[in-house]
Subunit: 111 residues, 2 copies
DNA sequence: ATATTATATCGCAATATTACGATATTTATA
DNA sequence: TATAAATATCGTAATATTGCGATATAATAT
């Protein structure tokens, strides 16, 4: 108990939920937000931006990378990170579908 | 340590990351997927659908409701749940922005 | 070669999440 | 009123996540 029964789900559901999970932490969402503004970052940029230790930032960057939200390129002594579009189309389709399905589905109300 | 430093983030970032977090579990994403297909559900529908105990399903439904992903209406002895659009526009905008920002931002590659 | 810089990983402690059975609550029905 | 049906909550155990300091790794510069 206490462990997610991952064996019960399709790989589609699992990989998409991993992406959402990666975005589901304020530090990681802040990193994504930073990348939206600046385009790229190195670990040290985020260390200056958030009140977390370098080790913690590095772990969050790894989590985003593992989920396919960002990718990193070694560049000298640092690693240049940028957003990846690997799962964006899937998420857009999902959210858009939800949006479209709502008017006709809700229990009592009209919206 | 070990606890998320939620006091360091804006309420915007916090509430949006809560939505992503809610979608970041395969059982909850499966519930959303079920709602997309069927429009509404009661707790028992999901109990039949997923290999989890009724108590666990109920908790997942509460988590989705707390994050504003679904809403529930009491209907006789059961509760009718359906999707909510509370945060969809924000997510769509965010994901769409990421998608648009990618071509010009990535380190070495052209995409 | 050695030092510097930037990032990643390790080990640990604190906290959060997940899941379950048991039980409580609430509404409808006999 | 008593029973049944559906959902929510409680208590607990197992596991996962978060964060930190310390350390390792890797590339550059002296």
């Amino acid at each position: 108990m206490g462990i997610t029964k991952i064996e019960s789900y399709s790989s589609d559901v699992l990989s998409l939920s991993e992406v959402f999970k990666a975005l589901g932490h304020p530090a990681r969402l802040s990193i994504v937000s930073y990348l939206l503004k600046k385009g790229t970052c190195i670990c040290g940029d985020i260390v200056d931006e958030l009140p977390l230790a370098q080790a913690s930032i590095s772990r969050h960057l790894q989590a985003l990378k593992t989920a396919g939200v960002i990718k990193g390129e070694i560049s000298g002594t640092s690693v240049c990170y940028c957003l990846s579009n690997e799962h964006l189309e899937t998420i857009l389709t999902l959210i858009h579908s939800i949006k479209l399905s709502i008017p006709k589905t809700c229990c009592d109300e009209t919206v």
